[in-house]
């Protein structure tokens, strides 16, 4: 590659970078400063009117998600425990059967 074409590629790359980064820098400068984080909760006695209804739906949804989610999870643990205990009982029986089959038969009982 000649030095001329190398220089052309370099200029093109620099132009592309400037095009990509430029608008982001401008928009970052134009953005309003973010609201400061809340550092304490102040209690009030009464809710402002008209505030209760839309929030109530979200509140009920949040509590429903937690209650239903926890109930489903507890039920799944219960089911899994039941299944594994059933499996233990089955395999224990199979192990005992296998051990009984391997045990040598008493000599006197043979031939009957």
């Amino acid at each position: 590659m000649s030095s001329n074409s190398r220089r052309r590629i370099l200029i093109l790359a620099m132009l592309l970078i400037a095009l990509a980064v430029g608008p982001a820098v401008v928009s970052a400068q134009q953005q309003p400063p973010p609201k400061p984080a809340q550092d304490e909760f102040l209690p009030i006695d009464q809710l402002p009117p008209g505030e209760t209804l839309p929030a109530a739906r979200l509140l009920i949804a949040a509590y429903a998600v937690v209650w239903i989610g926890l109930a489903v999870y507890l039920w799944s643990i219960w089911q899994r425990l039941g299944r594994v205990e059933q499996e233990i009982a089955d395999v224990t029986r199979r192990v005992q059967d296998a051990q009984a089959a391997e045990r040598p038969r008493p000599a006197g009982g043979a031939g009957r």
Binding site: P34, K35, P36, A37, Q38, D39, E40, F41, L42, P43, I44, D45, Q46, L47, P48, E51, T52, P54, A55, A56, L58, L59, A61, A62, Y63, V65, V66, G69, L70, Y73, L74, I77, R80, L81, V84, E85, E87, I88, V91, T92, R94, V95, A98
Partner: protein, 217 residues
């Protein structure tokens, strides 16, 4: 495990009484009614952090000492972290929709919380589909996930964010404080009970594996 049924009843009673305490707690001045999501949202994250720390510590013990029991604790902790983290990730946007006007914000706190939750989800997926030896790889993931928890908790103090700061909890008013700590106690008690049940499940699974091995021999 004689205390298990008694503690289960206590946890059920606490969860039944919690809505009464929350209903009686005062409204917050700027957010109003929707702020009451706080009483289940934050305890869900406390339970998630508990599960994550147990997973991280037990993963370290499993990695360095090869303890099978520690592996049971790690798996149980990771599952708790995923379940309670999911509850936190769902209740948070429901609160944010009203408080901030958006369901989600790519804020440091929220993004870090999502990444940590995904880390523990990856832990569970690795354990489920990773095949033999995956418990060691998963232990590394559990350790890494737990190491990120302090960043999630303190991110609101270290970086500029719209999420309320950690100073909210120590400055709660008397009516809010009682309800909040009652809910935290209920969630942590439930976490302990789930942990006990999950560890029992893992021990029983290990017993099944041992029985199959003895059957093959």
């Amino acid at each position: 495990m004689r205390a298990f049924p008694v503690l289960t009843l206590l946890a059920a009673a606490m969860f039944a009484y919690a809505p009464i305490m929350i209903a009686n707690a005062p409204f917050e001045s700027t957010m109003g009614l929707v702020q009451k999501i706080f009483y289940f949202h934050v305890p869900s994250w406390f339970a998630m952090f508990t599960g994550a720390f147990i997973c991280g510590y037990a993963s370290a013990v499993h990695l360095f000492k090869g303890s099978r029991n520690a592996d049971h604790y790690a798996l149980a902790g990771a599952e708790i972290a995923v379940v309670f983290g999911l509850l936190g990730l769902i209740t948070g946007p429901l609160w944010a929709r009203k408080a901030w006007g958006v369901w989600w914000e790519w804020d440091v706190k929220l993004t870090l919380a999502l990444i940590v939750w995904l880390t523990f989800l990856a832990y569970l997926l690795l354990r489920r589909f990773g095949g033999p030896g995956s418990e060691k790889l998963a232990a590394g993931l559990g350790l890494f996930g737990a190491a990120n928890i302090p960043f999630v908790y303190y991110s609101v103090n270290w970086w500029r964010t719209i999420h309320p700061k950690t100073t909210v909890v120590p400055t709660l008013g008397p009516g809010m404080r009682g309800a909040f700590w009652f809910c935290v106690a209920a969630f942590l008690l439930l976490t302990g009970l789930i942990m006990a049940a999950r560890i029992r499940l893992e021990r029983q699974r290990a017993r099944v594996d041992d029985l199959y091995l003895s059957l093959e021999d």
